[in-house]
């Protein structure tokens, strides 16, 4: 089993990730979403909330929103299933946080005779774990729509579940080529194999990256795939009847999923915490004059910073997509998933297999 030191290490890592997700990314992303829309639409945007006259470019809006929503009434409509109505946001939020437990946010560093691996759980089936856990979020969304006794919510829940089912399949299939390339399902191992720049997923698998990003955005029901919560036709879709903190939970889940998608892209395609052309060992060597422990510590801080920076870039990409594209019709969404991305991902598996057997794609 695990010792006391292991336990402390795990708790510190969980604390870091949870604070990063729920405390930093979720509130800041609500602000980014508004501020970026303002910038892209040539407005000044979220800048009203202030504390003693300090506005800090509107960042206080996140805090103001939180305080407002905490003290809102918890509304459950007549005829709704009270148990399921309460259970649904819990079932949406738990998988969103849990999926992050297998994502490596740094490399492996040695302190004395202790090896610290910057991932909460180094599972051999990490990639499958993420897909399995994120697919559980479908339950939360559908139960929310079903239990609300509201026609808009029901339609939103139905659309969401069918859409998430469709894109889950294709999201899994787009990754197969990458797994063939790295011969592993462990996230830590996949990142470790990308210490050489030419082995980054994006170099050989950029078509898979485009397909994967499309599927991931659709899985998260973001624009242009937001038919389940289309506000102009379905009010707010499956969370029409939610208010206060339960509403916040759905939004937090969505924003955490944006971060998870970005983290998956970074880990699978963009080399995780690696800086191009600088392997971990070389980075630690650079600071070896400070002593082995300090050198490892510096490398660790750099690694985490690089990882979070890459994360921020992919999040920015997703936000830009959100404010650039119009919404697809529902039949177009299903057509794109089943008639385009699914056949294309199967063809891509064939291409990768053929390429590796003929040594056009290197074996690592």
């Amino acid at each position: 089993m695990i010792g006391v030191v292991d336990l402390i290490e795990v708790l510190v890592k969980i604390g870091f990730i949870v604070v990063l997700l729920v405390g930093v990314f979720a509130p800041v992303l609500t602000w980014v979403e508004r501020k970026q829309s303002a910038v892209m639409q040539d407005r000044i945007g979220a800048n009203r909330a202030d504390v003693f006259g300090f506005r800090i470019i509107g960042l206080l809006h996140a805090a103001a929103d939180a305080i407002k929503l905490i003290f809102k009434e918890d509304f459950i409509p007549r005829g709704a299933d009270r148990t399921l109505h309460t259970l649904a946001p819990i079932m949406a939020l738990i998988p969103a946080i849990l999926a992050f437990s297998v994502i490596p946010f740094g490399g492996t560093y040695t302190f004395g005779d202790r090896e610290v691996n910057l991932v909460i759980a180094n599972l051999d089936v990490g990639v499958l774990f993420v897909f399995a856990i994120t697919s559980l979020a479908t339950y939360g969304v559908f139960i929310a729509g079903w239990s609300s006794n509201n026609n808009w919510a029901l339609l939103g829940g139905l659309r969401a579940s069918a859409q998430m089912f469709s894109y889950e399949v294709t999201m899994g299939l787009t990754i197969i080529g990458l797994v063939m390339f790295y011969q592993s399902l462990s996230m830590v191992e996949i990142v470790a194999k990308q210490d050489i720049f030419w082995h980054w997923g994006i170099i050989w698998h950029w078509p898979a990256f485009i397909l994967f990003l499309a599927c991931a955005v659709a899985e998260n029901k973001r624009i242009p795939f937001d038919a389940p919560e289309a506000e102009s036709e379905l009010v707010a879709g499956y969370f029409t009847e939610y208010s206060g903190l339960k509403f916040v939970m759905f939004w937090t889940a969505e924003f955490i999923e944006i971060v998870t998608i970005s983290a998956l892209c970074v880990v699978l395609f963009f080399g995780g915490h690696h800086i191009p052309f600088i392997a971990d060992a070389k980075l630690i060597d650079c600071f070896s004059s400070l002593g082995a422990n300090i050198a490892n510590l510096v490398a660790m801080v750099i690694g985490v910073t690089v990882f979070v920076s890459k994360l921020a870039i992919i999040i920015f990409l997703q936000m830009t997509i959100r404010w650039t594209m119009p919404r697809f019709r529902y039949d177009q969404i299903m057509k794109l998933g089943w008639k385009m991305i699914l056949p294309l991902s199967l063809i891509w598996i064939f291409v990768v297999g053929l390429g590796m057997l003929t040594n056009l794609i290197p074996r690592i």
Binding site: I14, P77, K335, I349
Partner: protein, 117 residues
Amino acid sequence: MSQYIPVLFMLAVAGAISVGMVLASELLGPKFKFREKMEPFECGEVQASSSKQRFSIRFYLVAMMFIIFDIEAVFLFPWAVTFQALGVFGFIEMMIFILILAAGLIYIWKKGVLDWE
């Protein structure tokens, strides 16, 4: 199995956050109820029809196709991990498997299951 213990911790933390938020919304928010307010939202109208009604068969069909193709994906993952060890033989085997499923996809495509009107 010890590598799954941290996942359990993470599950506990995530569960605590979620349940804590639900409890907070229950405890901190005001309670002010009257009959008209508790109506399900339908753009200000009285609810015209119950939400417990029939819906299109296509949603079921999507769920069925999901099961078929997701199992295909699950078969592909272990094959992909050992792909380089299996070599040409494994590649041809799996391509035959994918072709059979692709035939299924073409069949449901021609049957119009994927068309939404």
